[in-house]
């Protein structure tokens, strides 16, 4: 199968003790530029879904860079054959972030971009939560705490069948309140599913409140480790750091990997960032235009 352009150079095993993430040799300038351009365009798609009935803009913007990185550099997904049996799986468990996924699928050619203009129209299936009628979307989600168990089942079968597919499930941090995640992690660890990677979009917010103000999650790495997983903590907006982390998967043989990606809700548009009241956003066209200008001003490509 043909793949999305993936950096082809070798992986540096270097671990840096200075606290700074080293620039990754696999992430050459062209790839880095591609990632930044794609992220910008995906954020534009996300902001436009705030028109009409609105969408979960804040929750979507926090995971744009993660999804762009995964679909550009990590996941073996062929846009010409998204159901190929040897593909890697991405399950978006924080389903309300689906505008980010729609945007990525549009940018990699799985979803016709004009369909995003039919957001919330009944003549299409582009709505507030993922459904597998959308090409590239693996499963229904939106009810929180569901796709980690489902991903465990998929990873279990890949293991059973002896297939090398990798299974990534992205969960929200607030979503970790749901007990089913922890049930599934116990099973994943018991069955030593190191083909499973959980990515936590750690934007620090539940729907309405900062996580630490409501149901504190920290120390989060310790919790996952106690459940038998190996963890890494990384900036979810730093492509070099993401490359460094994802090239190390599995983080430990025989254990599920958990990548806690620290992110910013609303990332990319300063007036929307880190605000409890910008989870769901419904906006008028001129507001959206103003956010788009803000986005482009603060994310000028080529200013690395």
């Amino acid at each position: 199968m043909t793949l999305i352009p993936v950096p082809s150079t070798g992986v540096s095993p270097a671990v840096n003790g200075s606290g700074r993430t080293p620039a990754h040799p696999a992430l050459d300038d062209a790839t880095h530029r591609l990632l930044r351009e794609r992220s910008l365009r995906v954020r534009e798609h996300v902001l436009r879904t705030a028109a009409g009935g609105g969408s979960f803009v804040g929750a979507a913007l926090s995971c744009v860079d993660l999804l762009v990185y995964l679909y550009t550099c990590f996941l073996r997904v062929d846009p010409a054959d998204p159901d190929a049996p040897d593909r890697d799986y991405l399950f978006l468990s924080k389903g309300h972030a689906v505008p980010a996924l729609y945007g990525v699928l549009a940018e990699i050619g799985l979803l016709a971009p004009q369909r995003l203009r039919r957001h919330l129209h009944t003549d299409d299936v582009i709505y507030w939560h993922p459904n597998p009628q959308v090409p590239g979307v693996e499963f229904y989600s939106g009810s929180l705490g569901h796709l980690l168990p489902v991903a465990v089942g998929v990873a279990l079968d890949c293991r059973l069948a002896g297939n090398p597919n990798r299974v990534v499930v992205m969960v929200g941090d607030g979503e970790l309140n749901e007990g089913s995640n922890w049930e599934a992690l116990l099973v994943a660890a018991a069955y030593r599913l190191d083909n499973l990677t959980v990515v936590v979009d750690r934007n620090g917010f539940q729907a309405n409140l900062p996580t630490e103000a409501l149901i504190p999650l920290e120390p989060l790495e310790a919790k996952f480790r106690a459940f038998g997983c190996e963890t890494a903590r990384v900036s979810g907006h730093d492509f070099a750091a993401l490359a460094f982390t994802f090239h190390r998967l599995p983080l430990r043989g025989g254990a599920p990997s958990v990548v806690i990606a620290d992110t910013v809700r609303g990332r990319g548009v300063p007036s929307l960032e880190a605000r409890a009241d910008r989870w769901f956003v419904k906006a008028k066209p001129d507001e959206i235009e103003s956010w788009l200008r803000e986005l482009r001003q603060t994310n000028q490509i080529g200013e690395r």
């Binding site: 499963f139 079968d157 059973l160 599934a184």
Partner: protein
């Protein structure tokens, strides 16, 4: 020759179909022989019904036919939304086997009494609901339920058969255990045996009784219900389930849909859980033995005959 056990029937299905994977939420009573023979195709997730169903959905996404075991009360209620959303919505061929449903929870008490499982499961579009009369009936129907591309709920029943069952099985077709014109008893699950005894007593009392073992409640044998309503004087529904949402409700729906008025005597649990105890004692306490059912039917037949 004794009929095959559930575990034998399931093993046979697993051996002839490599898609079959057996899962359990640490409930192994009915499948103790399987871990050794199925190896990695036997998966025990521990006491975690929600994860069980989600994991089964993931396996089914990859083309497997997962057969999941947990106690009926926890499988259908604790994990309900996972069944509805991860199995029902995408119509994945996950097969859910509920242990000790209905009256079979005997001494466990109300925490373990699944008396609304049929109502819940048949409320999910596309879900097959199979309620075998005993272990022989279960073994006869199992291959058909597993071969169906639809999700299914199986009300596990390991009781020894009181009657011999027809190997002729189809989803949505009731088994006629005896023909009759005065009364038609419609039953499913462990109470089929009691209903069978009731029909014998009714025949002895000079009444002609028809007995339908419904087998699947979704899809349901609508033709058999309509025929029973048109050809007999009284319909009797017998079930170890709440009055709401089970066979009595199904019969009501069928009769309304077909614009038929007919007298119906429901025998079920009306808005309460049953007194826990050994099965044979529970049957007596709850007036569910064959002779008690026959007496209730005779009393009602008297009033029905008097009305006409």
């Amino acid at each position: 020759m004794s009929p095959p056990s559930y575990a034998d029937a399931l093993l046979q299905a697993a051996q002839s179909d490599p898609r079959v994977v057996v899962l359990t939420a640490e409930n192994r009573a009915a499948i103790r022989s399987l871990p050794d023979v199925l190896g990695p195709r036997f998966v025990d997730v521990g006491i975690a019904e929600q994860a069980l169903v989600g994991i089964a959905a993931g396996l089914a996404l990859r083309g497997r036919v997962p057969v999941c075991h947990a106690l009926a009360a926890f499988l259908t209620m604790r994990a309900f939304e996972f069944v509805r959303t991860d199995v029902g919505l995408p119509r994945l061929p996950v097969k859910l086997v509920g242990g000790v449903p209905g009256i079979l929870s005997d001494g466990n008490g109300p925490t373990h009494q699944a008396l609304e499982d049929v109502a819940l499961m048949r409320g999910i579009p596309g879900m097959v609901v199979f309620c075998p009369a005993d272990e022989e009936d279960l073994a006869i129907g199992l291959p058909h339920v597993l071969a169906s591309p639809q999700p299914a709920y199986i009300r596990h029943n390991g009781l020894r058969p009181a009657v011999s069952h027809s190997p002729d099985f189809a989803l949505g077709r009731a088994e006629v255990l005896c023909e009759g014109e005065d009364v038609a008893i419609l039953a499913y699950g462990p109470l089929v045996a009691q209903a069978w005894e009731a029909t014998q007593r009714l025949q002895a009392a000079g009444r002609s009784a028809r007995l339908l073992n419904m087998r699947t409640l979704a899809p349901v044998d609508e033709d058999a219900i309509v025929a029973a309503a048109l050809e007999t004087k009284l319909l009797v529904t017998v079930e170890d389930h709440f009055l709401t949402g089970g066979l009595y409700s199904i019969v009501a729906e069928v009769l309304v849909r077909n614009q038929i008025m007919a007298p119906v005597l429901p025998i079920a649990f009306p808005d309460r859980w049953f007194r826990a105890g050994l099965l044979h004692e529970v049957l007596v306490h709850e007036s569910l033995t064959g002779s008690q059912i026959a007496a209730a039917v005779l009393a009602r037949l008297g009033s029905v005959s008097g009305d006409r």
